[in-house]
Symmetry: C2
């Protein structure tokens, strides 16, 4: 199911329901796509403006990156839903006898790893988006600076949201070394990029208060 | 134009374009609706579970509130776009002669006030959503606790995002007393609810690390 072709209202309504997908992972990917799109918007409204001619080339690069990130994040909504199906099937397997438990475990472990890999990819994509947003907030048109700030807040939420979907899957993995390694990668991204998102937001906010 | 009936991809693509709406305000409302919907999901997946029978009544109340907030936030996407039209028209008015400037100012001031009122309403709705999310994260099913954390992160982003759309409009208002009053209301919400969102997120994260 390609949830990104669903209307926004329908997506929100099925998210709200007890349907297994979309869940927090798909929601994070959508919010990240909204964030990246705000980056594209800032670039689009800066390109071609005389006042910003000296950053035109830079803005074009930002636009290309933001558009790519935005379509990757939309696709990650689908990937997240697809990774959930084998996991749900594994959770549904019987676990009464030793044989059943072993068969279940053999299916469960790779399913968990895949279900953690997709939100990890969402996180990586949001970090890239925040790097672009940083540049857009510094060099983009002052008229749309608030949109760069909103974009940073969205990418921050998507990064945090996706991290919880990494952790909820790694916590059930049997291979603790692999789980620890995945968790470490997620934590490094949170440690590096949440402060960047906050810096972008605070800078935008204080610019809006220069004459307020 | 009712943007919430647009597909998620189309919404993201038109947001990314140089089209005047949707912008950061509409994006914030959508992200808030996604957050509230995650709250509904947590309630829906807790209601009817034997283990959570003692909070059943409470969860039903949370569900009702979350569903209401989610539909109000979806409607605020439309309201934000509608409030932008008269503002865009005012910005387009000539300002060469004194008469023109006065005519422009007469239209501009109420348009700015309305364009600030909608994101202020988005903020208020997100604060209500965070109160509900707080309860859901504490009492909802442990199996979907990550979704309450993602919901809190989304409502936080929507709250922050909407605040920038309040400030970008108040900064141009001539009535500085009115502007200051609106800014104060927005700042109080940020001061009260950003820490609550962070607390919800941190609690969820540490619960996921109890066995990770």
């Amino acid at each position: 199911m390609d949830f990104s072709s669903m209307s926004c209202s329908d997506f929100v309504n099925v998210l709200a329901s007890s349907e297994p997908v979309p869940g927090g992972g798909g929601a994070s990917a959508l919010v990240g796509a909204v964030g990246a799109a705000l980056g594209s918007m800032v670039a689009n409204l800066t390109i071609g403006k005389k006042k910003y001619a000296d950053v035109e080339e830079n803005m074009r690069e930002c636009l290309q990156k933001a558009e790519d990130l935005q379509s990757r994040l939309l696709d990650l909504i689908r990937q997240d839903a697809e990774a959930f199906a084998p996991l749900a099937a594994a959770y549904g397997m019987p676990k009464t006898t030793v044989e059943e438990m072993m068969a279940r475990e053999a299916v469960m472990e790779p399913a968990l790893r895949e279900a953690a890999a997709v939100p990890l990819a969402i996180m990586e994509t949001c970090c890239e988006a925040l790097d672009v947003m940083h540049e857009l907030a510094l060099k983009g048109s002052r008229l749309v600076i608030s949109d760069a700030g909103v974009g940073a807040a969205c990418c921050r939420a998507a990064l945090q949201g996706a991290s919880l979907n990494v952790f909820i899957n790694t916590r059930s993995m049997s291979d603790r070394d692999a789980a620890t390694q995945i968790n470490r990668r997620a934590k490094i991204m949170l440690d590096d990029y949440i402060p960047l998102a906050d810096r972008i937001f605070t800078n935008v906010q204080s610019k809006l208060f220069e004459k307020n």
